[in-house]
Amino acid sequence: MTDTAIAASSATEYAGRSGFARALNAFVSRLVIIVPYLWLLFFFLVPFIIVFKISLSQTAIAMPPYIPVLGFGEGLSGFWAQLKQLSIDNYLWLTEDALYFNAYVSSVVIAGISTILTLLVGYPIAYGMARAPATLRPTLLMLVILPFWTSFLIRVYAWIGILKPEGLLNQFLLATGIIDQPLIILNTHTAIFIGIVYSYLPFMILPLYSALEKMDFSLIEAAQDLGCPPISAFWKITFPLSIPGVVAGCLLVFIPAVGEFVIPDLLGGSQTLMIGKTLWNEFFANRDWPVSSAVAVILLLLLVIPIMIFQHAQARAQEQGR
């Protein structure tokens, strides 16, 4: 073989190998994208379809406690007949009883107030962490995450011990003479706010911290240099630049807080109306799976639609900014 021939053959071999490698690469990178989609499909979309189907069924004293149970036992025509039994009666029922509407509104209001309170508490903490010496930051982050090492349920239970009339807080305040009658906090909205703020604070702090930590501190110096006092510089520079973190933190707190069950159940007492509790009652106390499914579907739509609209608007704003 001549030198040129060798060169040519090795060149084709090289091209062939790189072609294969490229195809493999493309496949692997596609696989990587597929994984989260599969996850969403099996653990979100499929369960959602099941819940949605149950919400269109009727209650029955049976196992499972609803009809129809879809299946191909009676062939395709049987399946069709089963489908025809589905109805939106349960959704109509939700509009007839004011309880559900009130529970939704009350949940959104409680979650909204809690989110604002969490933001007010979380922002200074995140700001302090972002401005702390770089060597101290990992420790501070660790401290924020530390509560996760204990069960959420236990931590909420612990608040009962703190907030109840003869609890730690009242004992302390009575002992120091600040009050002479124990404060009634447990089984009020205040207790729910305390519980939500405490439980969800890390979800607020972490995105805020990551937004604030990225910010170049010389921007604040530049603002001051141009005649802007520190507080004004905060509102004109720091806060606008931290808005992505504020939004992410608020969503992370607001969404689970709307559907929260444990905190209102343990700290809020019996008179608290929240959709999570309503759902639990329908499901476990009344054993009405179809109605509770309808409650869940409406709750989901209530949360997902505004978030999608918001995210769409944000993406467009970002595109315009670019």
Partner: protein, 380 residues
């Protein structure tokens, strides 16, 4: 010694004893913990001066600038601006503006709003702000970029926005922290001249911090060379280069050859210095070196001539050696000549003709020579 003045203009308030300095650092010390960034430093800067603080990183030059801007307060000593003690005045109340090394442009604001930011703080009328912003955009030639956000601009454009923003308020003093550090070499050279023109046009006092000696030499009226928080020399670029005050300055600014030796004899300004290598150097710039003292004779490479034959000039200092290395840089050639005692001397010659009549090559015997006024004697 012949006088070494300012190259630019007839602007030299520092040599006029009646002139009042505009900015005065008085025995300023700044400590961070147990690290002393600035050590008992005194310095005067005059109105409309283009003043450069030059030094390696960690020499305290940025700390000086930050103290002037108000971001740091001196541990002791005071800073006066136009006769007023600046201690306790917060940055947002000082009549100085700073151009940051990172530019620190507000990423969420347009170019226009970045430039208008300081003016809005002043409470200037809207129409006036618009006019001033338009003027500034014109000054830095960015009219068509007014509505862009900083991340939509190139590095050079961002630098000009930062400049426009910092001069928009017409500060008494403009502080520039490594203003050209982030630009590439070509752009940096262009921008140096733009900055000088701007300073002339606006009639402001500029204090620029830089680690780039070429930048300082090109732009500044005077340069302060700093090392470990202390001033090594404050002088015009010419003086710094041709009459360095110490070995440190001579070595820091430009290239230099140094010969260790003893003053064998001296009279008036001239002296003979005998080196340990048996060489005797005649010099006319003996400074304050007393006879018998240990000194260093410093000479710049371009002041040394290299030739293949022994020069006929009887006045000149002459030594024989061997060409050890040659670096051809296009505009000039740098020869490294090894003398008999092993010391390597750098000599550069301008390539004024395309083809040399006396080409030198590696390992050739060669003669170096320089006139008695070509170098200086350093006692420190």
């Amino acid at each position: 010694m012949k006088s070494l003045g300012s190259i630019r203009r007839s602007f030299a308030p520092w040599s006029d004893p009646a002139a009042k300095p505009y900015i005065v650092f008085e025995n300023v010390t700044k400590r961070f913990g147990d690290f002393t960034a600035v050590n008992d430093l005194s310095l005067s800067i005059f109105e409309r001066e283009f003043f450069a603080l030059l030094g390696a990183s960690g020499c305290g030059k940025s700390t000086l600038l930050r103290m002037l801007a108000g971001f740091d307060e001196p541990t002791s000593g005071r800073i006066l601006l136009d006769g007023q003690d600046l201690r306790g005045i917060p940055p947002y109340k000082r009549p100085v503006n700073m151009m940051f090394q990172s530019y620190a442009l507000f990423p969420h604001m347009t170019v226009e709003n970045n430039i208008a930011f300081g003016l809005k703080q002043e409470g200037m009328a809207k129409a006036d702000i618009e006019k001033r912003v338009a003027d500034m955009l014109k000054l830095v030639k960015l009219e068509q970029f007014a509505k862009r956000k900083p991340h939509q601009l190139s590095g050079g454009q961002r630098q000009r926005v930062a400049l426009a923003r910092s001069v928009a308020k017409r500060p008494k003093v403009l502080l520039l922290d490594e203003p050209l550090g982030a630009l590439d070499k070509k752009l940096r050279e262009e921008t140096q001249f733009e900055l000088m023109d701007l300073q002339q046009e606006l009639g402001l006092t500029f204090v620029v911090v830089t680690h780039d000696q070429e930048e300082a030499m090109t732009m500044a009226d005077r340069i302060a060379i700093l090392d470990k928080g202390e001033v090594m020399q404050v002088a015009t670029p010419t003086e710094v280069y041709e009459a360095p005050a110490s070995r440190f300055v001579a070595g820091f600014v430009g290239n230099v050859n140094m010969f260790e030796g003893k003053v064998a004899s001296r009279d008036a300004g001239s002296a003979r210095i005998s080196g340990g290598n048996g060489l005797t150097i005649k010099t006319e710039n003996a400074g304050d070196a007393s006879a018998g003292s240990d000194v260093v004779f410093a000479i710049r490479p371009e002041k040394i001539k290299v030739s293949s034959k022994k020069p006929a000039d009887a006045e000149a200092n002459v030594a024989e050696g061997e060409i050890y290395d040659i670096a051809y840089l296009g505009d000039m050639t740098v020869y490294h000549v090894r003398l008999a005692d092993g010391q390597v001397v750098k000599a550069s010659s301008l390539n004024a003709v395309r083809i040399s009549e006396d080409p030198l090559s590696w390992n050739d015997r060669a003669w170096i020579s320089f006139r008695p006024d070509a170098g200086v004697v350093l006692t420190r």
